[in-house]
């Protein structure tokens, strides 16, 4: 399916319409001048045929149906026959100007659309021959055939030339556009890969986001030294990311804050680092329940991200400096309950689209098949239950 060919046809059809209609108008004006043709009947019927001709040419711009080409030619030859009284009357120069504009201008417009396929070119030849013979026969009394024929050839050659020329340019254009398209596809794939690499460094971005959020609150509640330490660490990781090292998902559990972390993705150990991080920011996290849980690394990532996000919310909004995290597990699920005794809030007040909870907690957990539930009421603290499959 060649969509550019369709577009090309549309361009040619519209060109044919404008070309034909403008010459039709010029020819009609000449035709209606006093003395161009004899007899009111000839003027009346001729004008009617001009209207038919204009209608057919208008349709030529919309439809590729050959009917409109035939109708255009039929109306044109009809006008010739009416004006010359079927070849018997001799027209003056005014009348012949009208007919010449009609034959070499208005009717030649069909040549623009009769290009492209072999059948159309055959049609073009046939149309030209028919019109030439008809015009020789009908205008022989008014004008030498050589002059009529010469102008006909000129007009049809020009119109056909437009069609051929535009069509001839299309393959080249289409080739160039296709190569632009290929380059664009390569660019898209490269950009996609790069974005994936950066997005896969989720834990890194998580600590960066946490630090940025701290900074957004002007680092209130954290000692400048701790903040600087944290900022230096995050900047170093971002630099590594920028310089092209791809943190592999297996290692992502360990690169957050401590150097030379535990090789095994043990939950207890990583939880400790989360606890330390929040400790530095002034939120005491008390740990309860299971200390050692083994999780697949991407589940662990999501779980930790969600947990850290919840703790960050506690730190920022609850108004208390202590949070409790209880980890429980059964055969299929690991569950964390984050509880604080802070101000709480009305569940209905949080906007679904608000980024904090829906995106960073729920979306991340759902990605790995988990879920999050939120319980709170103004004045009675908040509890978040995070669940991930084992």
């Amino acid at each position: 399916m060649d969509l550019i060919a369709k577009e090309r046809d549309r361009v040619l059809q519209r060109a044919a319409r404008v070309y034909g209609l403008s010459f039709t108008v010029a020819s009609l004006l000449c035709y209606l001048l006093p003395g161009a043709v004899d007899g009111t009947a000839a003027i009346g019927i001729g004008a009617l045929l001009y209207v038919v001709l204009a209608g057919a040419q208008f349709m030529l711009g919309i439809s590729r149906n050959p009917v409109w080409v035939l109708l255009t030619l039929a109306a044109g030859i009809g006008i010739l026959a009416i004006a010359t009284e079927a070849g018997t009357a001799s027209l003056g120069e005014g009348g012949m100007t009208a007919l010449q504009l009609l034959m070499s201008g208005s009717l030649a417009a069909v040549a623009i659309v009769l290009t492209g396929t072999a059948w159309r070119i055959v049609g073009l030849g046939a149309a030209f021959v028919v019109l030439t013979l008809a015009s020789f026969w009908l205008t022989s009394a008014s004008q030498a055939p050589l002059r009529t024929g010469g102008l006909l050839v000129l007009g049809w050659f020009l119109a056909g030339g437009i069609g051929v020329w535009v069509s001839a340019g299309v393959p080249q254009i289409s080739k160039r556009i296709a190569s632009i398209g290929r380059a664009h596809r390569a660019e898209r794939q490269a950009s996609e890969l790069e974005a994936q690499r950066r997005q896969s460094a989720r834990l890194l971005h998580d600590t960066v986001l946490a630090t940025l959020t701290l900074l957004a609150h002007s680092g209130v509640g954290v000692t400048p030294e701790a903040l600087r330490e944290q900022a230096a660490e995050d900047a170093r990781l971002l630099r590594q990311l920028r310089l092209g090292s791809t943190p592999t998902p297996q290692a992502s559990g360990s690169y957050q804050l401590e150097s030379g972390g535990d090789p095994e993705p043990v939950l207890g150990r990583t939880l400790e680092s989360v606890k330390q991080r929040f400790g530095r920011m002034g939120l005491t996290v008390s740990w309860h329940g299971t200390g050692q849980v083994l999780l697949p690394s991407e589940v662990l990532d999501a779980f930790l991200l969600a947990l850290a996000e919840c703790l960050e919310n506690v730190r920022r909004h609850s108004g208390v400096t202590e949070a409790h995290v209880t980890i429980t597990e059964d055969d299929s699920t690991v569950r964390a309950m984050v509880t604080d005794a802070g101000v709480g809030f009305a569940i209905a007040d949080i906007d679904e689209a608000k980024l904090g909870f829906a995106e960073s907690v729920v979306a991340r957990l759902r990605d790995v098949g988990g879920n999050a539930r939120l319980f709170s009421a103004p004045g009675s603290g908040t509890t978040v239950v995070l669940e991930v499959p084992r």
Binding site: L3, E7, A26, L101, L154, R185, E192, V208, A232, E359
Partner: protein, 419 residues
């Protein structure tokens, strides 16, 4: 390295202007201004050939009339000026850029005006401008020399002014006792038509051609989404992400190296806040957008008239052939650029919701219901090749709803939960 405000609001660009940014590229390439002009040089060559042929035709009449001129010198200099204009414009357009500078265009116009004036002076006393003007009528066609290099409006205005000047001259030139009849007026009308129409038709043809190139570029650029993975971030997202990462790195670095004092000034704090928000948005963005979303948002054509409803991101499951078919069908439905159909044409593509499966399939496949509802598109007005495109997506049935087309497709895809 110091912390700086990112040059622009990256979020604003991605949410609002990603599509515009891409289609701006398409526009730039499709416009006559850029060097890789995609076919307009070829069109210009055709126009040059036409102008030269037209000049040769006019010149031969000039030779025929030579004996009759009361002032042959003026007619000859009119042709001299016109030939200089034609040769100069052809050389300038071949050697120069794809856009003619305004002073160059002014020179062409001055040359044309001079040729017309001289030609009018030469034949004024014959009182038969319709038949005897040669250089003046060829001068109208000479406007085609710059048709790909100048705006449509200025060319149309120039052609119009030329036509009016000739008409006024013909009126003034008519002796008071001349009869109002076809033999005298018709050649004058024809002369004006042959002067003005080439430029008008040329301008419209070039406009249509440009539009064709731009549409095709837009389509081909969007076509690259067909091979995208199930979820993709889109063209500019990674660039944005990289920029945000860099901005964050600079900010953190400047804090770590004490270039930025703690506690932060409100300005820097708000910079950190906006960075965090944008970064967060970018990190979640990639997960829920499918190739079809990107195709619609990046394309000027589709973005204007396609509404996509795909809550469960089912479009990502379609295989490349199905995507290609769906994209081609959507394209053909909305790309029909007829004026009357223009503003109201819009389609909604809805994927899903998945019907609860009644029978279990044993080929690890799942049917996705796709519904294309349209407004302003009549059943008998759609391009027939659309059905072939839809056939590549899946089994379809079409109905007419309030006079507009509605297509239901059952696209069968690999079940992602059953691998």
């Amino acid at each position: 390295m110091t912390a700086g405000i990112p040059e622009e609001n990256t979020l604003g660009i991605v949410v609002g202007n990603a599509a515009r940014a891409v289609s701006k590229t398409a526009k730039r390439l499709g416009r006559a201004g850029a060097r890789p002009s995609l076919g307009s040089a070829f069109l210009a060559l055709g126009a040059d050939v036409f102008v030269v042929l037209r000049a040769v035709y006019g010149l031969s009449w000039f030779v025929v009339f030579w004996q009759r001129y009361p002032m042959p010198g003026a007619a000859a200099s009119a042709w001299g000026v016109l030939i200089v204009v034609i040769v100069g414009a052809v050389i300038a357009s071949r050697a120069g850029g794809d856009r003619m500078p305004t002073w160059g265009f002014s020179l062409v116009l001055v040359g044309i005006a001079a040729a017309v004036t001289l030609d009018l002076i030469a034949v004024w006393d014959l009182h038969d401008l319709g038949r005897t003007l040669t250089a003046a009528t060829a001068a109208g066609a000479a406007l085609l020399l710059v048709v790909t290099q100048r705006g449509a409006t200025e060319l149309l205005v120039s052609a119009g002014v030329l036509g009016v000047v000739l008409a006024v001259a013909m009126f003034l030139n008519t002796p008071p006792d001349a009869p109002f009849d076809a033999d005298r007026i018709a050649p004058q009308l024809a002369a004006i038509a042959f002067t003005v129409l080439p430029a008008v038709i040329g301008v419209l043809l070039v406009q249509g051609h440009r539009r064709m190139v731009q549409l095709e570029l837009d389509r081909v650029l969007v076509q690259s989404t067909v091979s995208a993975p199930r979820y993709a971030v889109g063209m500019l997202a990674s660039e944005e992400l990289a920029r945000l990462d860099l901005a964050a790195e600079r900010l953190l670095d400047s804090i770590a190296t004490k270039k930025t004092a703690l506690p932060l000034t409100p300005k820097t704090a708000s910079l950190a806040a906006s960075l965090a928000t944008e970064l967060r948005l970018h990190l979640i963005e990639g997960r829920r957008e499918t190739w079809l979303y990107h195709a619609v948002s990046e394309s000027e054509m589709l973005g204007r008239s396609v509404t996509l409803v795909d809550k469960s991101a089912l479009a990502g499951l379609l295989d490349p052939a199905q995507r290609d078919g769906l994209l081609a069908a959507a394209w053909m439905l909305v790309s029909d650029t007829r004026k009357k159909a223009g503003p109201h044409r819009s389609i909604t593509i809805q994927l899903g919701p998945l019907a609860p499966s009644t029978t279990t399939r044993d080929d690890h496949k799942i049917p996705i219901p796709i519904t294309i509802t349209s407004s302003g598109i009549r059943r008998n007005r759609v391009d027939p090749s659309i059905w072939a495109a839809l056939g590549r997506v899946g089994r379809y049935s079409d109905t007419t709803e309030e006079g507009s087309l509605r297509v239901d497709i059952d696209a069968v895809v690999d079940n992602p939960a059953d691998v």
